[in-house]
Symmetry: C2
Subunit: 575 residues, 2 copies
């Protein structure tokens, strides 16, 4: 029985780019295949009740392509679909990320509506609608029902999406758990009707299938609406969809988000800033970030006629003069053709690049949220007594520009504490963002957590155990903006520990921490002064009485002396 | 300039299965594409110095396929190639895993030779040779230079490899960092010469390219030798290649491994057991692990003529009678054709399956290392005073059979401690294995770590802080064998926190822990007895003298009395 199934599966997958493969693999000496069965068997120890011994030939018959969708369907926890609650969040997140990216790319202030309807105990329908530019019909099936398809992977530019997996993975998860295809309504032109597609992924081929399509009405001049039905679980609190929407509003003050939760509650986050954020431009790779093998490949595939021009055209920050200088340093002719470069020569070129001083990459590819906007965002969600924020200058890891921002809010009331009792202090709340997207899972695996834990918060007047976040009613928000955020998994939940990134986060935390420290010291001084003032007010009358007795003063004189004494004592205090 | 580069890239990737796509996507209304440019623009706010506003059309022009190799080349940390030291380990590991799998599948006792040569400061050549069945010529390019290609992904059977990524990813990393192709020498027949291939991956297409091939001599009748040159770093100690090889020898006592380290040292781990381990067979999926969408897909693609036979043939543990029963419970005709199943009917069938009692899946698809073998393995690497081991019975998570084994070694000498001073006690050493492969990274993200930390080790006489591993010269080894190990990332370093898995690991730990606890209590009693014996021996002579004075005994009598007293006192002790 098992064999039958196997054969069937083989047939199914053989169509998958089998034809083009034959061109690449030139030699297929068939004769080796038939004769080795016995030889290999004589090497083995046959055993009963267990599997039969395989031969090179029988193993070859089982080797085949694995479609990337099959791979991720089986490894869905890599994409953030580990459990129903997280699955609901991940699906919403992927759709909202795409909507925001599309609006910003088209320079449209985003209006997003998220609606979640509970269909049955475990079944939810997610509807995300935006006022973006819409999606051209022929791209809809690919974008929503094919993994590893998109516009952002190959461009060095800050964006929320980067992998071309997210939204189609959400659709695939929906299909797997409920059997329902993804629906997309998209309108790209106010003079036309919208298109309505039902698409689903063919997981064994990673290809989109159109189940149904028609034209329909749409209440916005342009925009996109995505409808996904999945097995999920709705639960409020930390790491919930509600939490994600609130944090998204915080890091995107230029966006209006309406959220209709499955329990019937409606939330509206109005935009705070009526202007688009910094709109990043695309850059070319920086020479320092390119490895030998990649440099070799780029040269061989370049259309440039001269080696120096290849360096100038295909990389950022290499002038044609600098290109020629690098060639000379590598002992290669600047006029040689890049397509003829040998691996040996590529090695020389690679060494020369890394020995040459080249300006850091341009930073107009990434944009901060901004210090004011960060403080503003914090104030919207957390009512605290003290706020501070800072945006660091852009810097570089492995050739990729990035920048770090931090904001801190201190002294708010939470459910666990009343703000005063030090024994009931909660741990610091850490809010992590990457390219304006809130990260809700895998906190302890994240570079941001590491930097926060490694910071010595006692310097800033807070209590902290070793290897832990500090205690107190403090919220720390960290934002990393980069052309390529190095996530630790496809689910984009935590940032890898690149030393350059951890260092910058620490510096940003320190900047905010110092301001907090100053505030806390000042608060402490005020408290001490208040205590002193209390003493003065308590004891001054007795001093007055004593002076009256000693110096035989009149009541009037005593009053004057006491008032003066009070003034003098208060002046010596510095608040 | 940027635009030019983009166009070039587009051309490169359009050949990638572009033709077959046209068949799937039926409708491409081209007319919508041209007209919407102005409309979308009028929606936007044009800004200077930043990126131009995109339209649905301009965005569509940038959408394209991302090859899975490009994806992993950019996300190489997902595959375990984060840094040079780890990259060296990962490459060795992938090659050795493949060799062991191939030998076992062909029922050959594995002889593996691993040689690492340092070429320059950062460049290493890795050579892994096995006596397996060899690889058929035409499969060599696919196996070594194409991601997501292999025989293990689609079969439910215990094996080291499962994803079809590992060895080709190592080759790709080598190509990227050194530009050198992977070399494979393989012989499948003692009457023929071996084949020698140089292959490399075309990352923009995820297709293998044969650089060079020839026939050559090989000193074994059958076998495979892989040669990969990569940028790496060799450093001894924890998480080193040396560590990996030693642990692999421990979990594979049927294997001989010769390891020639780059510093010139040679290690030989002789096989301890001259018989092959349990050889797993392939099973069909269990109905409980199948989700609605997948059930629907399987039915539609089944060759079975009747619904009841579909259940019987395509799943394990469903007899034809049980298949008919499930159909009845779902209110579907057992004789209906599975290909005609609707999604509504699939839902009924899915509910019926989960309401029916079905036997747990067969367990001959997974095999333990074995308690004796585990203890043996521990003894080879750790010289301790106490050992215990246990193999749990197989059980199931999400339809996948798995089993847990644990072994413990207590009271060895390490560099940090002399075995006695409790202040200098190190933390427990945790050794993690999945399908006999040692896991060296991401310990704290692993289900094994979680189970070890959640165990109350004080019950077994050890000291432990909350949320930490216990202290003491103890090594704990945990092995999970499964048809599908749920790793937290493609680099296969940690196991996801499935509750069923964590629970089984805890039970295995408890079994070993109780034995350790008994041993430790006994040891403590012996110690106390020793102390008592010391007291007896110290004070008995004085008691003798006192008795002599009081009772006026002779010296002889005193001796007898003292000897008797000693006997009596010692008998009352229970050791």
């Amino acid at each position: 029985m098992t064999k039958e199934i196997k054969n069937k599966k083989n047939q199914m997958s053989f169509d998958f780019d089998g034809s083009s493969e034959a061109q690449t693999i030139t030699e297929e000496p068939e004769e080796t295949v038939k004769t080795n069965k016995k030889t290999a068997k004589s090497e083995s120890e046959p055993r009963t009740k267990q599997a039969d011994a395989a031969t090179a030939e029988s193993m070859a018959a089982k080797q085949r392509d694995i479609s990337v969708s099959e791979f991720f369907a089986k490894n869905r926890h890599l994409l953030g679909f580990d459990n129903p609650r997280k699955a609901l969040l991940t699906a919403v997140k992927e759709a909202v990320d795409n909507s925001l990216d599309a609006c910003e790319e088209a320079h449209i202030l985003p209006d997003i509506t998220v609606t979640i309807k509970q269909i049955s105990e475990k079944k939810f329908t997610i509807i995300v609608k935006d006022n973006g530019p819409g999606i051209v019909d022929k791209q809809i099936p690919n974008i929503f029902a094919k993994l590893l398809y998109g516009s952002k992977f190959h461009s060095l530019k800050m964006s929320r999406g980067q992998q071309g997996i997210g939204i189609s993975a959400a659709g695939m998860y929906g299909l797997l758990t409920t059997g329902e295809p993804v629906q997309i309504i998209s309108r790209t032109d106010r003079r036309k009707k919208a298109s309505h597609y039902h698409v689903q992924i063919d997981t064994s081929k990673n290809k989109p299938m159109i189940v149904f399509d028609e034209t329909c009405d749409f209440d916005l001049p342009t925009g996109t609406q995505v409808i996904i039905t999945i097995e999920g679980k709705y639960q409020k609190g930390k790491q919930s969809v509600d939490d994600y929407i609130a944090q998204t509003a915080m890091s995107n003050p230029h966006t209006t988000i309406i959220y209709n939760a499955p329990d019937g509650e409606n939330y509206k986050y109005e935009r705070q800033i009526k202007k688009l954020p910094f709109l990043p431009v695309e850059i070319k790779p920086h020479p320092y970030g390119v490895e030998l093998g990649l440099l070799y490949k780029m040269a061989r595939e370049s259309t440039a006629k001269r080696l120096s021009l290849f360096l100038h055209h295909d990389f950022s920050r290499v002038s044609s003069k600098l290109g020629a200088d690098i060639c000379k340093k590598a002992k290669l002719s600047p006029t040689s053709r890049p397509v003829n470069l040998t691996i040996k020569e590529a090695e020389q070129l690679h060494t020369a690049i890394n020995e040459t001083k080249i300006m850091a990459p341009p930073v107009n590819c990434i944009g901060p949220i901004g210090e004011n906007e960060l403080e503003h965002g914090m104030k919207r969600t957390v009512e605290a007594e003290f706020y501070a924020a800072c945006s660091r200058k852009p810097t570089v890891y492995r050739g990729n520009p990035f920048l770090i921002e931090a904001a801190i809010a201190y002294g708010f009331k939470t459910e666990q504490n009343n703000g005063d009792d030090p024994d009931k202090q909660p741990q610091m709340e850490l809010k992590r963002f990457a390219n304006r997207v809130p990260l809700l899972y895998q906190q302890s695996a994240c570079a941001i957590y590491k930097a926060a834990v490694d910071t010595n918060w006692r310097n800033y007047g807070m209590s902290q155990s070793k290897g832990a976040l500090p205690m107190g009613s403090v919220a720390l928000m960290i934002h990393i903006a980069s052309v390529w955020v190095p996530f630790t998994s496809e689910s984009k939940e935590a940032i890898a520990h690149y030393p350059e990134i951890v260092k910058e986060i620490k510096l940003a935390i320190q900047e905010c921490g110092r301001k907090l420290g100053m505030y806390l010291r000042r608060q402490r001084r005020i408290k001490q002064e208040m205590a002193k003032r209390g003493y003065i007010e308590t004891y001054l009358p007795y001093i007055g009485e004593a002076l009256q007795e000693i110096l035989l003063l009149k009541d009037e004189q005593v009053k004057t002396v006491v008032t003066r004494l009070k003034d003098v004592l208060e002046k010596t205090r510095q608040i």
